[in-house]
């Protein structure tokens, strides 16, 4: 049975008041709160297990190494990666994407090459590609979307014919909530022999992920958006790709042998993990994965859908309401503007009522340009949010709108 109250008890941060009002935390797409088990796991690591890994022969080092590698296995199983070494731990989605852009640049990018992204990408899945491709006088191809926030797959098909070297797409848009048909898009790209990167930052906490079924070549994600600590995330890559890709950063345990003339690199996945990793956070991530798996995921999805529906129903009663992103398949968040009211003003007022939302361009400025707005107000949900909180939020928005009109 899905019991939101018992879940909330595992998130102490939620029980606080801000400005004397109960906190309503609807900024989960930016970062989720952490359950006690995750906090305790990381704490326990520093209390009892802290050690540098992989090179120590002593007891603690071996124990920490084993724990870290077990975390890798847990994450691999969570997204159904066939092999644990196909998971590279990184600081998060942004670092994973920078790793890919840099490594691809050295591997196969040539003068005038193209990279394909979509019109709804977060800056992290746009700027690394843009900067890399510009160094080679290449071009960033962009799949357009319609007014509802749905990608134009016919245009995508046409853009694939221009033979981009890589396709990199968001699984779920952080601004619009659109769930993109990644499996279909991957099949289409593969018909042209183009590898596909999927940005899973917004999906890991909400959707079951199966990288084999999807057949993506790479999948990237952040721990902190899925109840895990900050500073940890990952990159899944197919072995055939990871094997031939050159390293991204150098030094530490990523090497095999070093002389002044030559260095050979360690095997997968260590080739991509230069320097001392964030072991404690990796263990926290493992615990977060187990936490997500311990709760009926279907029930969580239904609960989050109910929150979204309640929010949309309530907000649509407010005069001047304009939803940004109305795709039929969406998840976890609602983005909107109210005619004549700046999102910043609205966010400032409802903050004073205890409601935490995000206002602004959500690190996706081209999306704002596409819709001709300075920004949106975005409410994003997690499993611990309640229908009552949505009601408080809707009332707060209504009250603020009346003040600001």
């Amino acid at each position: 049975m899905f019991d939101v109250q018992s879940i909330r008890q595992q998130f102490p941060v939620l029980s606080q008041t801000v400005y004397g009002k109960p906190l309503v935390y609807f900024d989960n797409a930016a970062t989720t709160q952490k359950p006690l088990c995750v906090i305790e796991r990381e704490r326990d690591y520093y209390l009892n297990e802290n050690c540098n890994i992989h090179r120590g022969v002593h007891y603690l080092s071996q124990k920490a190494t084993e724990a870290y590698e077990n975390a890798r296995i847990t994450v691999a199983e969570f997204i159904n990666a066939p092999l644990a070494h196909e998971i590279v731990f990184t600081r998060g989605t942004t670092e994973s994407l920078n790793l890919l852009a840099t490594s691809f640049e050295h591997l196969f990018i040539e003068e005038g090459d193209k990279v394909l992204v979509t019109a709804m990408e977060h800056h992290s899945n746009l700027v690394p590609w843009q900067q890399m491709i510009q160094r080679h006088h290449g071009e960033l191809l962009v799949v357009p979307m319609d007014d509802e926030g749905v990608l134009d797959l016919n245009a995508y098909q046409e853009l694939l014919k221009k033979q981009p070297k890589v396709v990199s797409i968001a699984h779920i848009s952080n601004t619009l909530g659109t769930i993109n048909p990644v499996k279909e898009m991957i099949t289409m790209a593969h018909q042209y022999g183009i590898p596909v990167v999927v940005d899973g930052a917004q999906s890991m906490a909400h959707l079951p992920i199966d990288v084999q079924d999807m057949d993506c070549d790479f999948y990237v994600f952040s721990g902190h958006k899925m109840y895990a600590p900050m500073g940890i995330g990952g990159l899944y890559g197919k072995t055939e790709w990871l094997e031939k890709m050159p390293p991204y950063q150098f030094g530490g345990e990523m090497v095999d042998t070093v002389s002044f003339e030559k260095t050979t690199f360690n095997k997968l996945p260590f080739k991509f993990e230069a320097g001392t990793p964030n072991v404690g956070a990796a263990l926290g991530l493992e615990t977060a994965v187990k936490f997500i798996e311990s709760i009926d995921r279907k029930a969580v999805a239904e609960h989050e859908d109910l929150l979204l529906k309640t929010a949309i129903d309530g907000l649509s009663q407010i005069e001047g309401m304009r939803f940004i992103g109305q795709a039929p398949h969406r998840s976890g968040l609602v983005s909107f503007v109210i005619n004549g009211i700046h999102p910043y003003d609205l966010g400032t007022i409802i903050d004073k009522m205890g409601v935490a939302v995000r206002t602004g361009h959500h690190c996706a400025e081209p999306v704002m340009t596409r819709f001709g707005i300075p920004g949106t107000v975005r409410a994003s949900f997690a499993m611990y949010n309640t229908v009552e909180e949505v009601e408080i939020f809707v009332k707060a928005v209504e009250r603020a709108a009346n003040m600001l009109r």
Binding site: Y19, I341, H342, Y344, D345, T348, I349, K352, T359, G360, P374, G375, M403, L404
Partner: protein, 141 residues
């Protein structure tokens, strides 16, 4: 009126309200009253960085006194900058540069003074001081 006298009267106005909502309502009203800036100043050159909303600020020196005008697409931000304009407009560059800004604490806007706040109150104050500094150097040379 001197800067200090204007600040005192603003503090008095705000002190009538205990509730934050009333204080914000007052800022919003001020935002709506703020004189519209001339369109020619609504450009990149007059944009203040560091704000989530856009803020344009212009200044001119008339008879040794600085006249500010501003606009913003967010009404609370506009209220805040209008408050600053009331304090600084019509004052000499030297008086502006010597001004004590602690009145912002007294009207409950202190939280907006942190450099991390996205409304950029701090950037607005800095920009006004920069104008004053420039006018001061200009008139001394």
């Amino acid at each position: 009126m001197t800067i200090k006298e204007i600040q005192d009267s603003i503090v008095e106005d705000f002190s009538m309200f205990d509730d934050w909502m009333d204080r914000y309502a007052m800022l919003i009203e001020m935002g709506k009253e703020c004189p519209i800036i001339d369109d020619k100043y609504r450009d990149e050159k007059h944009l203040i960085n560091g704000c989530q909303s856009r803020v344009w600020l212009s200044a001119e020196l008339v008879d040794g006194k600085v006249n500010f005008a501003a606009d913003s697409d967010a009404v609370i931000t506009k209220g805040i900058i209008y408050l600053l304009i009331k304090v600084f407009s019509g004052q000499t560059p030297s008086d502006i540069l010597a001004a004590d800004m602690s009145f912002l604490d007294e009207i409950g806007l202190k939280e907006h003074l942190s450099p991390t706040r996205s409304n950029g109150l701090l950037s607005m104050v800095k920009q006004m001081m920069l104008y004053a500094e420039a006018f001061k150097i200009q008139s001394e040379s």
